[in-house]
């Protein structure tokens, strides 16, 4: 049985999801020969540290660790530096302008030779190549499946299952909120504002939806894909971004009458995010909050994957897969 000591930094929706998934899957992980021990959890209010493992139930019941759970006032950087661990799960809120605080957390962990698994796009958008180099220099692994397609196995599919193929392009729907809004506008004839309001009431869209509907989230994902899969050196500003806020009910109806849907499509290495016409018969013609991505390869043709793009447990499942991959497989996916 291999013991993996984990420091979790960030304890919001995804952080709670990860704790819940580890709790639920403990037996399955043991069957794989892995004993995941979360030795510390840190949020903006403090840290809970238990040498023999934090009981996830303790943390799952509170909104912040300040509610009688924290036993230390250590911040994220201190927790990563001072607590003995093998791997850091970095799930703090994302910031694509400067990447902090996640960027600092990842740099600290990788410098110490600790593996990093994250759902936090910001640091990867700002400094993917630097972080990857840092991991390589210190013999650590950096895994980030959850940053790109939620539960869609995209990075691992490209790096592992399609190894040997040249990846010619990836395009698809990478934002469940936009897909939900466009689906409801087309199916119900709702105007944009009403569909957005419905999405907000259902918790699918944030109170400030700009990050999703203006295409920022999708562009961040394209930045990560361009750098990781295509070995480019792309910054967020290199992506040509148009969101969905100008889409009208009438344009959706015109498209539908001619056998098309309108979807927000991200494309690499084209480096574009924009609404596009998708034929109804296309495998990318998925509705609701689903994401879908088509990977064009030289040997295997075009492969399309689809899956839930967001959600606490769904994102945590991608984090868990990354962790299991690190400790149960050889490093063929770290060739970059």
């Amino acid at each position: 049985m291999k013991e993996i000591r984990i420091s979790q930094v960030g304890c919001g929706i995804v952080g709670h999801g990860f704790l819940e998934v580890v709790r639920r899957k403990r037996d399955m992980l043991r069957d794989l020969g892995l004993d995941l021990k979360i030795v510390s959890v840190t949020d903006h209010t403090g840290t809970i540290y238990e040498k023999n493992g934090v009981d996830p139930k303790k943390v799952l019941g509170v909104k912040t660790l300040a509610e009688g759970v924290a036993n230390s006032d250590m911040k994220g950087l201190e927790a990563i530096e001072e607590i003995e661990s093998d791997l850091v799960v970095e799930v703090t809120p994302t910031n694509i302008d400067h990447g902090q605080p996640g960027l600092g957390h990842m740099e600290m962990a990788l410098t110490q030779g600790k593996n990093v698994v994250t759902s936090n796009k910001g640091p990867l958008v700002v400094a993917f190549n630097r972080l990857k180099d840092l991991a390589g220099e210190n013999g650590a692994r950096l895994k980030y499946e959850a940053t790109v397609g939620g539960t869609m196995p995209l990075i691992s599919l490209v790096e592992r299952n399609l190894v040997g193929n040249n990846i010619l392009g990836i395009k698809g729907i990478f934002n469940g909120t936009c897909n939900y809004i466009l689906t409801r506008m087309m199916e119900e004839g709702y105007p944009y504002g009403y569909a957005l309001m419905e999405a907000q009431e259902l918790g699918i869209a944030e109170a400030d939806p700009a990050y999703d509907v203006e295409g920022i989230d999708t562009a961040a994902k394209m930045t990560i894909l361009a750098n990781s899969v295509f070995g480019m050196n792309v910054k967020y500003d290199d992506i040509d971004v148009t969101g969905i806020t100008d889409i009208t009910t009438e344009s959706l109806a015109l498209a539908r009458d001619r056998g098309y849907l309108i979807k927000l499509i991200g494309e690499v290495p084209a480096l574009t995010v924009k609404p596009m016409l998708v034929p109804r018969r296309s495998p990318l013609a998925v509705g609701g909050t689903l994401n879908a991505a088509s990977i064009e390869t030289d040997l295997s043709g075009t492969i399309t994957v689809t899956g839930l793009g967001a959600g606490s447990i769904e994102t945590a499942s991608a984090i868990l897969s990354d962790i299991v991959n690190i400790y149960t497989t050889r490093n063929i996916d770290d060739r970059s």
Partner: protein, 168 residues
């Protein structure tokens, strides 16, 4: 040059081979053959549609050979357009001179707007237009779409392109 041809064949065995024979003889490249066995004409003949590429100087020889083989040529015409895409424009499509937008494509000589459908919900509201563009090739279609994108920027129109072009 690329041409399309409508033929009518007698409903007896071997006619299709006779119809295709001159294309082999005069080095034509057949792109497609559609043999409508289920759609006989009132005269009892079977319509066939061909698309092919051939040197312009050999068309008359093909036609003469078909005549000699007793095959009726109903129509022959240049088939210029091989690519087709649907595009949506959203914004003040009409106020920003839709005629000019279409003309910028048509005036290229290699692409044309062949279909248009417009929805205008209100005077102040943005309109939406569906247009279908045909072009003489992939490269020409890319150029036409680039022109449309540029027009979109100038006229503040959202240009929604398809994820893939369609072969005609």
């Amino acid at each position: 040059m690329r041409l399309s041809m409508d033929l009518e064949l007698q409903d007896v065995p071997g006619q299709l081979i006779l119809a295709l024979e001159p294309f082999r003889l005069y080095k034509g490249n057949i792109i497609s053959v559609v043999h409508h066995r289920d759609r006989k004409t009132p005269r009892g003949t079977i319509p066939v549609q061909l698309v092919f590429e051939i040197s312009g100087s050999r068309i008359e020889q093909v036609k003469n050979h078909l005549k000699k083989n007793n095959i009726s040529v109903v129509r022959i015409g240049e088939d210029r357009f091989v690519e087709e895409v649907s595009v949506l424009l959203v914004g003040h499509v009409v106020d920003s001179d839709l005629g000019d937008t279409i003309n910028q494509i048509d005036s290229t000589g290699f692409a044309e707007v062949v279909d248009l459908c417009l929805k205008m919900p209100g005077i102040e509201d943005p309109s939406s237009a569906y247009i279908k563009i045909r072009a003489t090739g992939k490269e020409e279609m890319s150029k036409a779409l680039a022109i449309l994108r540029e027009v979109g920027v100038q006229k503040d129109l959202l240009v929604i392109e398809p994820i893939e072009a369609e072969m005609l």
